[in-house]
């Protein structure tokens, strides 16, 4: 079991309220990603759940019981840190066995669980090495191994892939997702990378300045962003946000169109000059200086052959225009 409920959780450091007021329910077995720009309070929120920070006000419930004042060890959660936080003087085996040893388990039982975890994570041949002799991805797996042997009710991941190189990040991302499918345990994952959020999550929680901007499935957030912040944050390349006269035509303060929802069409309503064009083969990313609107990012097909300085016309796809009111919230 691993249902976690936050009720009016507030965290202040001195006079600064890092998290003003958060209500959130994480269902058992869900893969929840906290995403937001750096300094938005997502790591603090994770540490509050872990018990590494005390809440200033509010309640944290784990499986229906109040865990607000429980020490970290008693919450039944396991955490994987950004720096992995492996114990450098212990072998991989001892690292993974450490929580079991602390729980007073016999050596034989420890060994059984360590072997099992090592098998799942492909670490069997590294058990006698020290963390210093492992690569980044292997260290990451040891940290995960140390978390899974405890059979926690939920896993907490604090930006676990940010120290890995791009290729390894993609493969570890898939491994963690597969691990979730195998274990079916609740996982809370903090990242600033919206690609990780989109690819891994069952449910994404978008945070900004300590407040929850929107909670929903990845595609939900992509198709129906609740406000300008989420619209600009989710999706890569970023959504084009247009204010002023063009937005007023649609009865909104701001309109948003994703780069992939703009077509290059002769006779389209917007015309402009191509600035930068990046040809990736599969796609072409264009920055177009549109008259009267400004720079728009456009994602076109790979065969589009526009160069710097070319004139072109653009047309937004019908029904793909997001409209936002003066308060930044989406209009129905």
């Amino acid at each position: 079991m691993g249902k976690i409920t936050l009720k009016h959780v507030n965290k202040s450091f001195g006079d600064v309220a890092v998290i003003p007021d958060i209500n959130l329910t994480i269902e058992n077995g869900e893969f929840v990603v906290f995403v937001g720009p750096s300094g938005c309070g997502k790591s603090t929120l994770l540490r509050l759940i872990a018990g590494l920070e005390d809440v200033s006000a509010g309640q944290i419930e784990i499986d229906g019981t109040d865990a607000t004042d429980l020490p970290p060890a008693k919450r039944g959660l396991a955490m994987v840190f950004q720096s992995y936080a492996l114990y450098p003087h212990m072998s991989v085996r001892k690292n993974i066995a450490f929580p079991l040893k602390m729980a007073g388990m016999t050596e034989a039982e420890q060994e059984k669980k360590v072997q099992n975890a090592a098998r799942i994570l492909n670490l069997t041949s590294y058990l006698d090495r020290r963390p210093g002799q492992l690569s980044g991805g292997q260290r990451q797996r040891v940290a995960i191994g140390r978390a899974i042997v405890r059979e926690p009710s939920a896993f907490l991941f604090d930006e676990p892939l940010s120290n890995l190189d791009a290729a390894l990040r993609v493969s570890m991302r898939q491994e963690i997702t597969e691990l979730h499918q195998t274990l079916k345990t609740t996982m809370i994952y903090v990242t600033h990378d919206q690609v990780e959020a989109m690819t891994m999550a069952d449910k994404i929680v978008v945070l900004n300045a300590g407040n929850i901007e929107q909670v929903g499935s990845p595609l939900d957030l992509y198709h129906h962003p609740a406000n300008v912040f989420v619209a600009g944050f989710i999706g890569s390349p970023k959504m084009n946000l247009i204010a002023g006269a063009e937005a007023a035509k649609h009865g909104a303060t701001t309109i948003g169109v994703r780069p992939e929802h703009i077509d290059i069409a002769a006779g389209g309503p917007w015309s402009g000059t191509v600035g930068l064009s990046e040809h990736l083969g599969s796609d072409t990313f264009l920055k177009v200086e549109v008259d009267g609107i400004g720079t728009l990012n456009v994602r076109a097909g790979g065969e589009v052959n526009l160069r710097h300085g070319d004139r072109t016309s653009l047309a937004p796809q019908a029904g793909r225009i997001h409209r936002f009111g003066a308060d930044g919230k989406a209009l129905a």
């Binding site: 872990a50 590494l52 020490p71 970290p72 060890a73 959660l77 396991a78 955490m79 840190f81 950004q82 720096s83 936080a85 492996l86 114990y87 450098p88 003087h89 212990m90 450490f98 929580p99 602390m102 729980a103 210093g132 140390r146 405890r150």
Partner: protein, 290 residues
């Protein structure tokens, strides 16, 4: 950049200092070795000659020598035990976030800046003195007789004085080691269910092992040669109760004016230092790797 010619140039340029350092070290050692086999008394300078191992045998056969050896090892061992244990505890304490942390740390480190004879005098006269000392005042306020530290417990008193001087050094090194421990490791151990005691035993102490090794090695080098504190307080007495090897050498050289014997003592001290160093490196040297 490290071409053959630049490496050669580097060697040529450091050569003079290497040669100078070698002479600096080798000449005194060679002279000591030479004198240790000679009859050389300042009282009777006309009587000279080779005497073989006579000077060494005098030491080995002197009952004072074995007492001095024991005292030297007790001093080194005692001070190391006290400074490392208390150093760890104080480092843990002042690593906690408190107001006035900077001032507190300077205060803790301050005794290290006091010169050894001065430190010994302060402790002898202000703390251990049977009439004026703080400890005597405390004893008397409880109606007890003041303890005659330097008379009844001379070696323990010397160990206490030297520990007082070296505790700040140990604390400082151990504190920096403590501060280099990543907080995520402690938090991970906390999540893993380790109690404060277990966190200390399995995470903090192993992390500090290298610093502890450095403290032990550096202090051993200096403690083997402790002289000033004994000279200003007990003068090696009562009797020979607090005589260490360096103090015994001093007595032979300055009091008895027997340079030959003092030189033999010096060579014995060098051998002792090497034996200690050998066992230290075997015992704890592995913590210096990686």
């Amino acid at each position: 950049m490290s071409t053959q010619s630049s490496r050669l140039a580097a060697r040529v340029m450091v050569a003079p200092s290497v040669v100078l350092l070698f002479i600096w070290m080798a000449v005194p050692l060679a002279m000591t070795l030479y004198y240790s086999f000679r009859l050389y008394r300042l009282i009777s300078p006309d009587r000279t000659g080779w005497v073989g191992f006579t000077n060494y045998l005098w030491f080995v056969n002197s009952p004072e020598f074995w007492l001095a050896m024991g005292n030297t090892l007790a001093l080194v061992g005692g001070v190391l035990a006290i400074t490392v244990t208390l150093g760890i505890l104080i480092a843990l304490l002042i690593d906690q976030p408190v107001k006035g942390q900077g001032v507190l740390r300077i205060l803790v480190i301050a005794p290290f800046f006091v010169m050894p004879p001065v430190a010994a005098s302060i402790l002898e006269n202000l703390f251990m003195h049977p009439q004026n000392g703080l400890f005597a005042a405390v004893s008397m306020s409880f109606g007890a007789q003041p303890i005659l530290f330097l008379q009844d417990y001379p070696m323990s008193s010397v160990i206490a004085i030297v520990s007082w001087e070296w505790l700040p050094f140990a604390t400082l090194i151990l504190l920096t080691a403590l501060q280099s421990l990543s907080s995520e490791q402690i938090e991970a151990a906390e999540m893993d269910g380790a109690s404060a005691l277990n966190r200390f035993r399995y995470i903090i102490l192993p992390h500090m092992m290298r610093a502890i090794t450095v403290v032990i090695l550096i202090q051993t080098i200096f403690l083997l040669g402790i002289f000033g504190e004994i000279f200003t307080t007990t003068q090696g007495g009562p009797g020979s109760a607090s005589t260490t090897l360096p103090y015994m050498i001093f007595k032979q050289a300055i009091a008895a004016k027997d340079i030959g014997r003092a030189a033999a003592g010096g060579i014995i001290a060098v051998i002792l230092a090497n034996i200690v160093a050998y066992f230290l490196m075997r015992g704890i040297g592995r913590h210096l790797d990686a």
